[in-house]
Amino acid sequence: MSPEQKLYERAFEIIEAYGADRARWPEQERSAIEQAIVKSPKLQAHLQVHAALDASLKSLEVRPRLSPEIVAQQIVAHPQRITRAQWLQLQLEGLTEWTAAAFWKPVFAASFVFLIGVGAGTVALEPVEDWSQAEHLSFALIGEEQ
């Protein structure tokens, strides 16, 4: 893939992810993307489609209703040291955050399969005592040696 093609595809991705507003694009890539857009009518059209979506998103306004003064007054009435229940909640939050991270899942899946295999092997397989049967089976499968 040529560097120009690469840049075109990257510009396409950036517009798809961040929309048409240049201020939201990653700063280090911004000027290169802008240059790519100037050169490509397809990117310009793509930019227009996303500008329309941006405009729709902008219309969805949410106004805060809480009064910062009242909230601050209510909170400072609380002691600054955390209670035991809060400490426990904090630890649980840490644990939840750790379990929410994806890295342990493949490790868990691999060890689970491995343990199942070891378990099944230990329980289901009996050691072969009469080798003549195994020999007979192997001859049946691959043919007797001439």
Partner: protein, 204 residues
Amino acid sequence: MKAGEEAQLVALVTQGDSRAFAELVQHHLPAIETYARRILVDESLAQDIAQDTLLVLWQRSAEFQPEKARLTTWLHRVAHNRCIDFLRRQKRETPIALHEIVARQEGTANTVCQVSGEVSEIASLPLQASAISEASSASDARISSLDAALRQLPESQRTALVLTYYQNLSNREVATVINASTRAVESLLCRARSNLKKQLESQQ
């Protein structure tokens, strides 16, 4: 507010300075409240989460490390964890679709309108007013369909979109808040916008 100034205020909060805390609340509460409201359907719950997040700032300000992140990123992360916690608990306890909750809320809004006796008054309004109300209801319908489309996005996509688009966090900050890589954030944003576009097109 500059990062240095903010770090100083947080240091004062750690020493129990309620004035410094009030200044920080003034600056950050609106953003945290709107974030929680965009993620959760329930407005009062979003307000509870916003207050709880600021309580964390009051009680655990010593944990904030200004050299690692901006205070807004730290607070968004605290609020995000609470929102996700609630959404997961809700999913476990009451498997109700989001559109049902929205429909219920709309039902409540209609009931409020009827209780206050506005229904009979609407019929007697002059023509000009009804034309205005038609235009505004078309706009309201467009906004509510966009809101519904946004709420139907998977939680991770909605969060990435809200943090980037409405909370104006950079992709690195969003990655810190949702505990993911910047590449993953970009991918979530791509999917979110694409899904949103499809949903809006299908509604038209």
